[in-house]
């Protein structure tokens, strides 16, 4: 659905995107992550025809983003990070204008407006001025608007920023519902990595390059292992035993709990329980989160 080949964007003083290539499949939720200044915004701006690449090609829905801008624009919907509603207009007026911008057939406009408002539970506020909406409602309205012209690809740029947990949960529900019902391809960015878990695949960009791309599960496996928290009746003896008899990546003791980092917890645990002589009193496995994955690929250092 999206094909990116050798994409490069150079500015005077620096290179924002450096020879990146990747594809996004139809119907996929694709998570696009990276720290500040990684080149994410530049990439999204190129994909949404707002910016010309220095070199490389991008096609969306089979159309070239440079040569076939109009077809690309018709194929995509964008939920911007920043509010782009006209607050002086009502919800309906905002949606109606969008229909006109995208040439939605006159006869189906009313039906579609009702349809998208229902998805985001805003039917009752259809004639309310957007400035009277709360932040969460505005966000939901923007999602509705992005769907009006039945886009093939939906770009969601940090769609849940600043929302309360209730609204956030609903936004993700809408997104999953859309994926199931409409098979829309979603290109998603977020700074909250637990949210990126819903992605089918994730790409991490840093300093203009794609440094990792895979399913969340495999990415977690890649960063080398699970942490096993062990408590025993004699921690010191256990530590010695582990050091001598087991192959662990890292081992530490803190507050009477032994932290053991291993490549694969399943294989380790069964063997461990069988052979450890010191009596065990507890064992808990902590699998890495996407947050761990992200920080292990991009480092903890702040970027600006």
């Amino acid at each position: 659905m999206i094909e990116i080949n050798n994409l490069t964007k150079r500015y005077k003083s620096f290179q924002a995107v450096n020879n990146s290539s990747f594809n996004v499949e139809k119907g996929e939720i694709f998570g696009f992550l990276g720290p500040n200044g990684a080149g994410k915004s530049t990439t999204i701006n190129i994909l949404s025809t707002m910016l010309q690449p220095t070199s490389g090609t991008v096609t969306i829905n089979g159309y070239d983003v440079i040569k076939q801008q109009n077809q690309v624009r018709e194929s995509i919907g964008i939920i911007f990070q920043q509010n782009t509603l006209d607050e002086k207009l009502t919800a309906k007026e905002n949606l109606m204008l969008h229909c006109k911008f995208y040439g939605v057939p006159r006869a189906s406009r009313k039906h579609r407006i009702d349809e998208v408002l229902e998805i985001v539970d805003l039917q009752e506020s259809i004639n309310t001025l957007v400035e009277k909406f709360s932040g969460g409602m505005q966000r939901r309205l923007e999602i509705a608007r992005g769907l009006l012209h039945y886009p093939k690809v939906l770009f969601l740029d940090e769609p849940t920023v600043g929302l309360d947990p209730q609204t956030r949960a609903h936004v993700w529900e809408y997104i999953l519902k859309l994926k199931e019902k409409e098979n829309i391809t979603m290109f998603l960015t977020t700074h909250y990595l637990d949210e990126a878990e819903i992605s089918d695949r994730i790409a991490i960009m840093d300093q203009g390059e794609i440094i990792a791309i895979d399913t969340p599960k495999r990415l977690k496996q890649k960063i080398g292992g699970d942490i096993i928290e062990i408590t025993t009746s004699d921690n010191e003896a256990a530590m010695k035993e582990i050091e001598n008899n087991f192959n662990v990546v890292a081992l530490s003791l803190k507050d009477d709990v032994i932290y053991c980092k291993v490549k694969n917890s399943d294989a380790f645990v069964s063997e461990f329980i069988k052979t450890l002589k010191t009596p065990l009193t507890g064992l808990d496995i902590r699998k890495p989160t996407l947050n761990d994955v992200f920080l292990s690929f991009t480092g903890r250092e702040i970027r600006d």
Partner: protein
């Protein structure tokens, strides 16, 4: 240090805060949570003496701030939810401006600016106009200007919203460090439970103007359930193992999957030795034992409901 007693705020059409009781001790980091429209921001602004309650009292070191807010104002720092900086001024000029509001002058101001810029990691960007800053840098500076006068109490209203993980971690770590090194008291609100979980000693949860829960992190999490679930993976499952589990008096519930079984037990019980024992009896290999305790987000959604607020 600060105490809210029966604090109430009525507006024309609604009661934003209803009879709120809350306290913060010196040196604590306290989290204030709640969905949209819960009354958090209203409560905070009354606490910082920015607006007057319609009922109740705010007591700072046992004196009401309603008649005399000056002692509180001198030591409180407020980090607002919206970024309140001058876009056309540099980081340093912004700090000078806000420093003067707190009556800092000359060498003292200069030293404080250097110190705070260092703390928020912006020393090298001090001469740059704020317009050119990224979201994370603006957030950090927004916090920095509230710290110039060495506040004893820092009130932070969603200070880390919308920024990348690196910047967010940096802010959280800075707050924690300030708390540890200088005993700075912090009230922190956020919609992101991990932040609160990392920072806060105690937590208050508000909904529709009422306080609906309060306590330490552990106490709050226990609200959801006195039980924990443990998921056990073995090399294969057999019926004997399952029936042994079911017969065990301490296990409340057993749910079997293909290669996995999930059991529910009272929170305080350590099941581990028993599980090893049982597995040995039926000659099974334990592959993994994962204890799933409810997260703060689970508790939050349990208490405040999943329904949309607007």
């Amino acid at each position: 240090m600060i105490e809210l007693v029966g604090l109430t705020k009525k507006f024309k059409h609604n009661e934003a805060v209803k009879n709120l009781n809350m306290f913060i001790e010196k040196g604590e980091i306290v989290g204030l949570l709640g969905p949209n429209g819960a009354g958090k921001s209203t409560a905070i602004s009354m606490m910082a003496s920015l607006s007057e309650p319609t009922g109740g009292d705010v007591r700072f070191n046992n004196n009401s701030i309603l008649k005399n807010p000056a002692p509180l104002r001198k030591v409180v720092g407020m980090v607002p939810q919206e970024i309140a900086l001058y876009d056309d001024l540099t980081a340093e000029e912004n700090m000078q401006f806000f420093g003067r509001i707190y009556r800092l002058r000359g060498q003292v101001l200069k030293r404080k600016i250097d110190e705070v810029l260092e703390q928020i990691g912006l020393s090298e960007r001090r001469k740059q106009v704020v317009r050119k800053f990224s979201g994370g840098m603006k957030r950090r500076l927004n916090i920095g200007v509230a710290m110039l006068h060495d506040p004893e109490l820092l009130i932070m209203d969603e200070p880390a919203v919308g920024i990348d993980p690196q910047s967010r971690n940096y802010i959280l770590e800075t707050v924690k460090r300030l708390n540890e090194e200088r005993q700075m008291t912090v009230l922190y609100t956020s919609h992101y439970m991990e932040e609160v979980e990392y920072l806060c000693d105690r937590i208050y949860i508000m909904d529709q103007g009422n306080l609906i829960a309060s306590g330490t992190k552990e106490e709050i999490k226990q609200i959801l359930s006195a039980e924990k679930t443990i998921s056990i993976k073995t090399n294969r499952l057999n019926d004997r193992f399952l029936s042994l589990l079911e017969e065990s008096p301490t296990i409340n519930q057993v749910v079997a999957g293909e290669k996995e079984v999930t059991i529910t037990v009272p929170k305080e019980i350590n099941m581990f030795p028993k599980l090893i024992n049982l597995a040995e009896k039926v000659e099974l290999e334990l592959r993994s034992v994962e204890v799933k305790t409810p997260t703060l987000e689970d508790v939050f959604l349990h208490l405040t409901g999943r329904a949309l607020r607007d």
